[in-house]
Symmetry: C2
């Protein structure tokens, strides 16, 4: 099977997709679509075309799956249904509250065009969702916990950058180890926001800015920091660049549940990710689901799907017999 992939949006996630395609022998990157001037965008894959996003329709028959690498706030809500009129698509839409609406929009577009659209692929939503779902189906009498980190939160870093006097910033979300341990021990704790995660901020100040005022503003920021134990470190621009330029992330999904006639036995299911690069890992998940999108389409399926709807084997380059022999 040869799968021709298109990438729409060439930021960190788009480049991650490009790297992931290179690791999968059954795939090739056909073209990258950008809103910028294509002449100003140089991609890593020598054989790939770079096109303006307005030219996408011309690629209708030359691309098997279009991977949408835009943002969830403004890009994907309109882009995914639009592209689903022309292509099989995969996106990483991650605004949890709007997933049902997004699913409907993509579903009707993809059903009309006879294409497949897989939405909300990545690790959360994505692999974390899958693990929550499997675990809760296996242990109906149990409790779920999700911890994030240690990792960079883009949204929280941006929130700090918007404060007056801040030149640059990086925010890490860190799970509280003792909380994690009490879940692992089967204690089924009720954990407040503050008890689950701490927030650590590395901030570069503008010249002459008031550090105490900035720190106060960060620590009391509603929704973002006020409910957490937050630490603020002021560092130089050089240190930020040297020590905090990576985009690591990860986290833990746990389910603790009971079985037995008297529900006397405890079980713990734990799924953990430790990622050097959040966008590259997200991209790797997306690319595996692009394979699934292509297969589902070739089988004649249409409409929107999520990770819950897709047989695991569809992600793998190996066939059923090989999977049974080597991996079961």
């Amino acid at each position: 099977m040869n799968i021709r992939i298109g990438i729409s949006g060439y930021g960190n996630l788009g480049r991650g997709v490009e790297c992931a395609i290179r690791q999968n022998a059954d795939m090739e990157l056909a073209a990258v679509f950008t809103r910028r001037d294509p002449k100003q965008v140089s991609v890593l894959t020598k054989t790939a075309s770079v096109c303006h996003v307005s030219e996408a329709a011309e690629w209708k028959d030359k691309i098997d799956v279009m991977i949408l690498c835009g943002g969830s706030a403004t890009d994907l809500p309109t882009q995914t249904p639009e592209f689903a009129k022309l292509f099989n698509v995969v996106d990483s839409f991650d605004t949890h509250a709007n997933i049902p609406k997004h699913f409907e929009n993509v579903d009707s577009a993809a059903k009309e065009s006879g294409k497949v659209g897989i939405i909300s692929v990545g690790w959360d939503p994505g692999m974390f969702s899958l693990n929550r779902m499997y675990a809760s189906a296996i242990l109906p009498n149990g409790r779920d916990y999700t911890f994030w980190g240690k990792g960079v939160s883009q949204g929280h870093s941006d929130a700090i950058r918007r404060i007056e006097g801040v030149k640059d910033a990086r925010q890490y979300t860190i799970p509280v180890e003792t909380a994690l341990e009490s879940v692992r021990e089967g204690k089924n704790p009720a954990l407040s926001t503050r008890e689950k995660h701490t927030r650590e901020c590395y901030v570069v100040l503008e010249e002459g800015a008031d550090a105490a005022k900035v720190e106060q503003e960060i620590k009391t920021m509603p929704n973002y920091f006020a409910d957490y134990d937050t630490t603020v470190h002021f560092i130089s621009e050089e240190e930020l660049e040297r020590e905090h330029s990576g985009i690591p992330h990860g986290g833990f999904v746990l389910r603790s549940g009971k079985t037995g006639w008297e529900e006397e036995n405890n079980h713990l299911i734990e799924y953990r990710l430790k990622l050097d690069s959040n966008p590259e890992f997200t991209a790797s998940v997306i690319v595996a689901y692009a394979r699934a999108a292509c297969r589902l389409y070739r089988e004649g399926q249409t409409g929107a799907k999520t990770v819950f709807d897709i047989p695991p084997a569809y992600l793998s380059a190996k066939d059923g017999a090989a999977l049974r022999a080597e991996m079961l």
Copy 2:
């Protein structure tokens, strides 16, 4: 949806299935089938019938899914294909090397009868296999590790019990923590059998038995113990009963892999189970897949399936919209 379940074989696993059914509101236990005299078998579920296994055919239209709780060595290779002629079936066939053959046998029986047969369900094979497969599809350039334990190995305990002078025994398989840590750190170690697990044995001697001889015989037993660092503790029958009557198990599936254009970033995917009761957890997985078997059958699908073939959503009592709203 109401799913009527039959259980064939009422040992630890069968009783585990009975307990799991009780936790799932859309299921009921219709009947237990045994090779013993049904009058001598009392089950926990007051509403369930107890029948001799030879009467199973009479239940053809009164059971939606038959769960086969026999052993992989001699029961399941013949039972699963036989029962698949009459029922949708789920088994926990775990002789890895014979899975392809078993799959074929169940597939042809189930295709002929128009039923669904899900084989090799549990945690290994089962949830561990799923995690190996998902992780290798996501990180094609990586390395897999499976560690088992801490847990009771029935096969190893039985092997000790067959030694002359041994009255009873319990064997624990224990993962080596330093090996696990080196995998977590992304070092991709090449690990020998001895470096991955240790074996701990609790042995009750017959009166007058030669402890030194028994210990020597255990530690040098080929395949079972010779390749491991093995510790032998001689204890009283009372202590064995008091401290070692549980059937805990679990383990770890890890994949460490690289992404990036120069494959410069490391990622770790870790799945862990910590189980108080191996048979009850296995049973809980099987019962979730019984739901899937019933749905697939009602959709008109037939033949043998494994965990790789089944969309995750089919395991859950919630519908697609609820899963997307609550779990994605």
